[in-house]
Amino acid sequence: MNWIVQNLWLVPALPILAAGISALAKRKSRVLAASLAIGSMAISFLLSLWAFAHVLWLRNHGEASLQIFDFRWFQFGNQWLSLGWVLNPLTAVMLVMVTFVGLLIFIYSVGYMAHDENFTRFFCFLALFAGAMLGVVIANSLLLLFMCWEIVGLTSYLLIGFWYSNPKAAAAGKKAFIVTRIGDIPFFLGMVWLYGQSGTLLFYNGGAGCLEPSAINYLVAQTTTIGICAATGIALLIFCGAVGKSGQFPLHVWLPDAMEGPTPVSALIHAATMVAAGVFLVARVYPLMSAHAGIASVLTTSTALQAVTWVGSITALFGALIAVAQYDIKRILAYSTVSQLGYMMMGLGVGGVSVGMFHLITHAFFKSLLFLGAGSVIHGCSGEQDIRRMGGLGRLMPVTFATYAVGMLALCGFPLLFSGFWSKDEILHAAHTWNISQAPFYMGAFAALLTAFYMSRQVFYVFGGKSRLAEETADLSHSLASPDTTNHHGSSAPHESPAVMTIPLMILSVFALLLGFLGTPAWPWFQSFLEDTQAPLDFSAFSTGGMLPVMLSSSVIVLLGLTIGWWFYGRKPIESVDAPDNVGRLSPSIFSALGNALYFDAIYGATFVKLNTQLSKISDWLDRWVWNGAVQTVTQIVFGFAYLDNFLDTHVVNSGFDGGCQGVSRSGQILSLLQAGRIQRYLKIVAGALIVFTILLLWKAKI
């Protein structure tokens, strides 16, 4: 077995080790923490490249591109629970993506977090996150995946609440953890169920793994009491975990709030990697997801995948709609992320692993680019996050502007050149040919229109026109930015960020441009790589299967969206901070509803959170009054009897007794005359008695 397969564990282990060391380090050892994190990440990146190369080599030599390494962890009963890692194209692609994006963001963070007092802690958490995320990627066991998944959630919690003095950040971290855990509980149950049914949690184990045909066939054959087959039930439960982690509707509420964390965190965790872990999870257990009862009907889609598709398409549309009405630069991107994650889910549902994963990879690059660009903007504007107070930054921050524009066009899916075009087009095409319904296609297309629109709106707000930052000083009521960010980003005038921040932006923008060419319909190398087929260069693929019309229509949609955006926001520059939104003027009520994210937080607050609070109050009340009350009642009854008894004693028995006593005492007074206290007199009486008794006895004996 190849060295890299055996030692793939080093990839996650190195960052975790770095995290462990910097956790023990002093607060002052900034250089140590940063260099440890970046160094370990760099080595992991190299190892990932090696692993990637190894997979390529295996493919080119016609060997199985699925390599596993399992080891025993612990024993219970007569069996061992094994964990392990798997190296296959999916793993390799994700490894390279995560380590590369992670590395760039680590480097970027050195600049972004330079002024923060908890710099060391930040890199500790970040490295821990990277390690756990890589663990999710390489895991060959659902259990190992779940464990890393939870640790990823922990680091997400820690990093969102990184500026813990800010109550909003603390609340956002808690919310993120709990909402994702709502999804994780079904995931956990699904995993346990799967374990119970298949007897193993290893994905691949030479035919005995739970994703391999024998186990899947067995799972499909089992039916549950509610009529669906076990495979579907398990798949749906596991999908709940993905819904929570990937911010899918209806568990998306935590993701926008997660933007309270530092921007590199948003870029790495809440755009590129962790939130994509849900998508990755679905891709990883795809055999389970796509398992259905019909034996050979490949064309029908399993119930689980239908659920994935519908949830994904609703999320895609929903996120895009809300993003239109946001003012916070990071929140726009957050809702955009929600929407794009919906796309990926939809892609997985309608097109398969390669379709969804392709978008995941391209999205990881351009969305982290966008977030880092936004971070650069925020950094340059001294912590300002409201796009209404920006403007005119195109001239002041040229590098940021250029790279941001690349990212924005990639996200919109600008035709031909940008990566987002190809990956999004794949999804739309697959949705178009989906055999269940056309609705996801139309929803996706509309979301694409909205995406182009809100991104152009954002870019025009931020980079176009003249700077409105000066007005900020007059506006005392403004307190949107967190106190920490305001404090930590020193100077006041907008300025370009340092090279340590711009260079990662440039590198990312190159990838955002070029990555799409790995997966064009003419040369679907990426798809064939994931699906283990050969990909010849074939330009005729454009014309088959309705590919061309879809491409054309999506191009038109994107251009239309950009045009509308220009029409509203770019045609004439935005005048002032307080000027109402140009679209918002058309229908203020709808716009404000969207601005408030369709009141989902309020709805949840009024229902689930309230229910929870009520339940806890009820539980406490039960404890205090019912359980304890029962005990207390018994005690009180006992005491009651005691009081009754006491009452009877004092008033009935005692009074009678007292009466008796008085009689006794009076007779005692009489009798006490006999008690003269002289022993000899008593003795005389005794002697007299003796005489009498002896005489009596004798008398009796005589008679």
Binding site: Q75, S165, L189, V192, D620
Partner: protein
Amino acid sequence: MITFPWITTLTMVPVVGAIVLLALGGRNKVLVRWIALAFSLVALILTLVLWHKFNTVADGFQFQELHTWIPSLNAEYRVGIDGLGLLMLLLTSIVVPIGMLASWQIQQRVPLYFSLVLLLQSCLFGTFTALNFFHWFIFWELSLIPAFFLIKLWGGSKSAKAAMQFLIYTMVGSIAMLMSFLAIYLATKTFDFTELAHLAQSGQLMPAVVGKLGWHLFTPEHTAMVIFLGAFLGFAVKVPLIPFHTWLPSAYSEAPTGTTILLTGAMSKMGLYGFLRILLPLFGVQMQQVLTPLLWLAVATVILSAYAALAQTDLKRIFAYSSINHLGYCMLGIFAVVKFTGGDTALTAQKFAAMNGVFLQMFNHGLTAATMFWFVAMLEKRTGGLRGLNDFGGLRKVVPVFTGLMGIVLFSSLGLPGLNGFIGEFLIFKGALPLVTWATALSAIGLLITAIFILGILQRVFYGPLGEKWVHLPDLTIGERLTLVPAIGLMFALGLYPQLILGVVNHTAIQMALNLRNF
């Protein structure tokens, strides 16, 4: 064969320590503390020696000692340990030093306090090693006395009431249990656990008892059930199961924190131990008959206690309810194991998993809860007894190390993978879900609520803006950090390599699950 009486020695070490402390008197408090700690560490070392010498694949009990004691009653002094007993010994030996360290700042009647702690330890050792009901029960009851005085004399303002409640509650349970056992004794003329288990396994126990005690108004099943319920009550109060738990929150919160550590870390395991050692082998049939209500109780324990914890504002009360919640999972696992499966080998394997999970969870809960209360003790020491959720805020800024280490323990309690809490819960759910699907699925809600209140603690105590009052709160001292290292290190070790414990208890778990009589 005469071997070294390891277990008796182990049981006697704390007693000797207690006598030494009492003889020493209270002139030198520092010396008293160190001597007490030294004795508890000797016990720990002895336990580790046992752990090392223990044969992990042998059937039955090891290190047995057997002496006739009261021949006319058939009461023997018989001690011995299997994997479960050994695990509980280890837990006790770990928890007691933690409890002592957490009580370091106690100033009144120091020798008495520490000798009571040592006596309690001895009683716990006795309970976990006794194999004859007679002296098992003596130890079981005897342990109440030091616990009662520890709560009453050194506790908070309402400690007298709490201690009385604790005593009476557990006493009532114990009396019910004693009645049941006297009934069994009358029929079988033996107090020996192993013999009774053999009788029960061959199905002779309950017919014998019913034949002896049958009452014309009760069917034999009812008679057996009444006897079972008596014993059940004794253990259910101790664990505790809702609704027999109301003594616990007040006892835990009123007791001095060092004592709370002993109560939650070690004494709460007595109930579970009783369930595993006594109820499962003897009353398996009866438990099967009332499995559904028992499962409801376990689910109610898990969910209601989690919700009740959510409603509290006193840290100790939160952790008290959290303790009930964690033990609720153990109860769920135990009841799942009882479920009738009719020789289905796949389901029997699930039972092994659940049983192992219960063992692991018992140990983990003891370790985690003890450490958690230890942190409360350190917080109280710094704040002069304040421990309300609303008293604090933003402490992370001034006590980062405290926050970090307590965070680790809190997340361990939450069941975060990589720390000790996770594998136990995983195994319990893994085993219980195929056996008792709906109860297990419902119990999962508890996992969520636990997360909510634990994060609530972090948010309200450590996050947010720092209160004026706490600007000069001192962080952990080097000594405190060093003493915490073993406990937290153990959490990591068990989270990453649970085989450490499972390797020792697995055989016992298999035996216990297999010995259940299946009808």
